[in-house]
């Protein structure tokens, strides 16, 4: 075909393409409708739901995509879309809050009020940039890392109990699943740095590896305290056990250790050593551009939301809270309380960001392998003591 030289020829080409597509698709659809019965059914539903929309909902229920199905839970709520929305708005909130602490304004123009749509504007910008892979890197490996990291973050969402019925997968060993997934993150970071085949990502990846491995152990031991009290590894049962008193009151040291380890595992400032911008030029993220970078950032914030949700489940009583909505809306009430508590945990992590400079790797590792480990063991012993003296029965757990 001839090259497009002017705008009018572009419009001509566009119209030709659109008309051609329409004709081809209509022919294909009617052909299939004649031979494949489910497509005929779909055609009927499509035409009749113009007048009566509930027919469409019933049809979706029947096919397994309805409001109570697994697909809905995974894709929309409480799964990926919900988490992505919360992650996007937490990015906005973090930037605005940090700006107020630093005597400036923050996002202001995107969206009508106070720059609310700024993260979405950033994602759209990232989509239009070019994905560059360094020539000496292992290309397919390099590009698969963002997908791996996003999958890890999304997998964590699977066990998060947003309310009594809304949980994607309820299993007897949820806590083990969480730690298995969290344990995979350092490997992904190391692979990302290695596949870039350059010095700064390598240094950043090694730092990430050291940091994350060192802090999984105190996190595990502080969780052990919770598991000992409840006697189960199932997250939903852990929430049921907190119906009278929250675990943060029973084991404050354990909650503190878990919170610290959570912030360090998530590489949040002041612990963002693997991506320390002024020292090693973005660390293991140096060579990632455009949507690869955008994916990893989204994954980081989804993981932030997921870990904060896990903290809420284990120490802050999950979805329990006084009934603020009228009766009949219990589930919505539970969802609201869960979301409020998770957001409070995230805000606390954001406040830390404005006040401290970055920590150095040797100071961090020294703290992890000595102070936090000792604290978590102390917490464990305290919990065992409380269990032995039957204090638990008194508080009605």
């Amino acid at each position: 075909m001839s090259k497009i030289q002017t705008f009018s020829s572009f419009v001509k080409r566009l119209i030709i393409v659109i008309i051609g597509l329409l004709i081809t698709l209509t022919l294909l659809f009617s052909l299939l409708a004649y031979f494949v019965p489910s497509v005929k059914e779909l055609q009927n539903i499509l035409l009749s739901s113009i007048g009566n929309p509930s027919l469409m909902l019933n049809y979706l229920d029947q096919k397994g995509f309805g409001l109570n199905s697994l697909f809905f839970k995974v894709a929309v709520f409480p799964g990926f879309t919900w988490a992505a929305l919360i992650a996007a708005e937490i990015i906005w909130f973090e930037r605005k809050f940090l700006a107020k602490m630093q005597m400036r304004v923050g996002p202001l123009y995107a969206g009508k009020i106070a720059g609310l749509l700024q993260p979405i504007a950033d994602v759209v910008k990232l989509v239009f940039k070019e994905i560059i892979t360094p020539s000496s890197s292992d290309k397919w490996f390099f590009l698969s890392i963002p997908i791996i990291i996003t999958s890890i973050a999304a997998a964590l969402l699977a066990v998060l109990p947003v309310s009594e019925g809304w949980i994607i997968m309820r299993s007897d060993v949820s806590v083990l699943i969480i730690f298995a997934i969290v344990g995979f993150v350092p490997i992904a970071v190391l692979l990302g740095g290695w596949a870039s085949n350059s010095k700064y990502p390598f240094i950043g990846a090694l730092r990430g590896l050291h940091q994350m491995i060192a802090f999984e152990i105190p996190m595990l031991i502080s969780t052990l305290g919770v598991v000992l009290v409840t006697g189960t590894l199932d997250l939903v049962n852990i929430v049921y056990t907190q119906s009278n008193v929250w675990f943060i009151l029973l084991m404050p040291i354990g909650a503190f250790v878990f919170f610290s380890c959570m912030i360090i595992e998530l590489e949040r400032i002041p612990f963002d050593l693997p991506e320390a911008e002024s020292e090693i030029a973005s660390g293991y993220l140096t060579e990632y551009t455009s949507m690869a970078f955008g994916n990893i950032q989204l994954a980081i914030y989804i993981r932030f939301y997921a870990m904060a949700g896990i903290f809420t489940t284990m120490f802050l009583g999950g979805w329990y809270g006084p009934q603020i909505l009228p009766n009949g809306f219990e589930i919505a009430n539970q969802v609201i309380w869960f979301t409020i508590k998770t957001l409070l945990v995230m805000i606390l992590a954001i406040v830390l960001r404005g006040v401290n400079p970055r920590v150095r790797i040797d100071l961090l590792l020294r703290m992890g392998w000595s102070s936090l480990l000792i604290l978590s063991f102390a917490n464990l012993f305290l919990v065992i003591l409380i269990l032995q003296t039957e204090l638990i029965q008194m508080v009605g757990v």
Partner: protein
């Protein structure tokens, strides 16, 4: 452990416009070789092709953050050769501008220190407060950053009356805010852990290597050109020189903060004592007789000195500029030994190294 050779090059967020070639063993630096020269513009050569007045905006450019401190010794050298005496009011205005520039440059120092430590609040607050003082300099000299305000024989224009109350307001606001800086930035346990005991430069080394500025005063030598080799009206003013014996990065940052306090006190004294009168001599033309002159001044970063040779013509014969950054460059191989890679940018910025000024 095997050695890694890393080039913290000009394209690096933690390096500025120069290159340091590091040899690492694990995470510790065992050798650091600086490689300046990326912003060399030939200022000394070009100064020989411009008249004495045309040189004033030209020679301010290398040290742009501290423009008054950059041009002050040049003016003093020219006036020394011409053998003229500057009116008193002009001298006070010069000192006010010099001290304002000192505060502006030190605030920029604190801001970039914050960036290298990974502390974004430590970047935003000083840069925001710097605007207050830049506006004040704007009121006096007519420009925000590069003034061309000092001329041989005085200053170009008189200071408007409103500057007195605005300067008072600015100094009051900033003195209160400086206390907050100490609490959040200097006494932050993480900041202390990362900078105390890092980048040690002993007193003998400092004297032997001829180091200048706050780096020298952080190593225990109480030396400041404003007191040692006094010029302009500094002998009529009452101020202190902060000194520390700790020789590390933390004390260098602390000295910058204390100097800002002293500068504000100097500005207040000048505004009280400034007499009325003319602000420049009405020279018909700048005619510099043949001779040589060496003059030095305490710029914000240290001692800036000019060696000016004139042969009686319209343009200078030789202009030799010696900036504090170039003199402090020699400490980089010394202080980097044994420092961890993460602490390299704050340590090199701690000696107040500005690449444009070192390369001229």
């Amino acid at each position: 452990m095997s050695k890694l050779s890393l080039s913290v090059g000009p394209q690096h967020p933690g390096s500025g416009h120069m290159r340091i070639i590091l040899t690492l063993s694990g995470d510790y630096i065992i050798e650091a070789i600086p490689d300046p020269g990326y912003v060399h513009r030939g200022e000394e050569k070009l100064a020989e092709y411009r008249t004495y007045i045309q040189n004033i905006p030209h020679l301010e450019r290398p040290v742009l953050l501290d423009a008054t401190g950059a041009i002050f010794p040049y003016i003093l050298a020219v006036e020394d050769l011409m053998n003229i005496i500057v009116p008193e009011r002009a001298q006070f205005i010069r000192v006010i501008m010099a001290e304002l520039n000192r505060i502006i440059s030190h605030l920029y120092y604190m801001a970039i220190y914050g960036i290298f430590m990974g502390h974004s609040t430590m970047f935003m607050w000083p840069v925001g407060d710097r605007e207050v003082f830049i506006d004040l300099a704007n009121n006096i000299a007519g420009q925000r950053v590069s003034y061309a305000f000092l001329v041989p024989g005085g200053v170009r224009n008189d200071m408007p009356e409103i500057v007195k109350e605005r300067a008072e307001k600015a100094c009051n606001y900033f003195e209160k805010h400086l206390i907050e800086y100490e609490r959040i930035f200097m006494n932050n346990p993480l900041f202390e852990k990362r900078t105390k005991g890092v980048g040690i430069l002993s007193k003998q080394d400092a004297i032997r290597l001829g180091v200048v500025g706050p780096t020298l005063r952080a190593s225990g030598v109480k030396s400041d050109v404003r007191k040692d080799d006094t010029y302009s009206v500094y002998d009529q003013l009452d101020f202190e020189i902060p000194v520390s014996n700790a020789c590390d990065s933390w004390s260098r940052a602390w000295i910058h903060m204390e100097e800002m306090r002293q500068s504000m006190s100097i500005i207040r004294q000048c505004l009280k004592r400034i007499p009325a009168g003319p602000v420049k001599l009405n020279l018909k033309q700048i005619k510099v007789p043949p001779g040589e002159s060496f003059s030095r001044v305490e710029a914000a970063r240290g001692t800036l000195s000019y060696y000016l040779i004139s042969d009686g013509g319209k343009v200078p014969y030789r202009v030799r500029i010696m900036t504090p950054s170039f003199r402090n460059l020699i400490t980089i191989p010394n202080i980097m030994k044994g420092v961890m890679l993460a602490d390299m940018p704050p340590t090199y910025w701690g000696i107040d190294y500005w690449p444009v000024e070192a390369d001229r």
